[in-house]
């Protein structure tokens, strides 16, 4: 199967639920387990939250989400045109957070890495951040 969607929305926290629901509904076109669906929704929630909280840091901006199905693989791309990440490897370390909110867990990228098959983070300070992640689903239905 080949299919795609592209959605953009303002960087409002209430859109986190919308984004993960949309990505989940899109991925559900495939034979997919409940766990795989939950993994995708959780990873989307992390990527979109990062875009809103870190990328735009309370400023208004546009978050773009693209989802693509190629065969049994789901690819999700979440982009913002926010402040960017100065040191991507540092930001991807477990428990790292530069947020002023001391109750941020710093686990966003760890969740994405653990729940998806691949994760790529491209960022430039002052330009924005693009997170690309993929997951092959439905292996348990193959037999």
């Amino acid at each position: 199967m080949e299919n795609y969607i592209k959605i953009e929305f303002p960087s409002k926290s209430c859109n986190e639920a919308f984004a993960r629901a949309a990505a989940g509904a899109f991925a559900a076109q495939l034979d997919i387990t409940v766990e795989e669906l939950a993994d995708i929704k959780t990873s989307v929630s992390e990527a979109v939250t990062n875009a809103i909280i870190h990328g735009y840091s309370g400023m208004r901006g546009i978050v773009e989400m693209r989802c693509k199905i190629s065969g049994q693989t789901v690819e999700i791309v979440v982009s913002d045109k926010g402040c960017g990440i100065a040191d991507v490897p540092l930001a991807m370390q477990p428990l790292y957070s530069d947020s002023k909110d001391d109750e941020r867990s710093g686990m966003g990228f760890t969740v994405m890495q653990s729940f998806m098959d691949t994760l790529k983070v491209e960022s430039e300070v002052g330009v924005g951040t693009t997170v690309t992640m993929t997951k092959k689903v439905g292996a348990s239905f193959e037999n």
């Binding site: 939950a38 959780t42 992390e46 001391d102 969740v111």
Partner: protein, 101 residues
């Protein structure tokens, strides 16, 4: 997300209902902390029976409440988590700190 709070002596039971993410984590945190401080609460039970989604924003909130309860010499218990919630809790390492039932 909806939440009901019940006090049993010095124990607070927080029953969560809905999806726990960044959009509601701060509000949940504030309501629980206010109740803890107003009523000299020592122990905290968090009931996840009706929580069908949680991301790492929820983990941050749980770690914060754990620190608060620990500082008061109490215990924190998390009960009735779904497989999705359980998976992210497992990843966070919280299972080594907080009691689960």
């Amino acid at each position: 997300m909806e939440m009901t709070l019940e006090r049993v002596g010095t124990t607070l039971v927080a029953k969560l209902d809905g999806e726990l993410d960044q959009s509601c984590a701060a509000e949940i945190r504030e309501k629980i902390d206010k109740e803890i401080n107003m009523h000299s609460i020592i122990n905290l039970v968090m009931d996840f029976d009706r929580v069908d989604f949680m991301d790492s924003s929820g983990i941050g909130m749980l770690i914060g409440r754990y620190k608060l309860i620990k500082a008061r010499g109490g215990k924190m218990l998390i009960i009735r988590t779904s497989p999705q919630v359980d998976k992210i809790i497992e990843l966070s390492g919280l299972k080594g700190l907080i009691e689960f039932g």
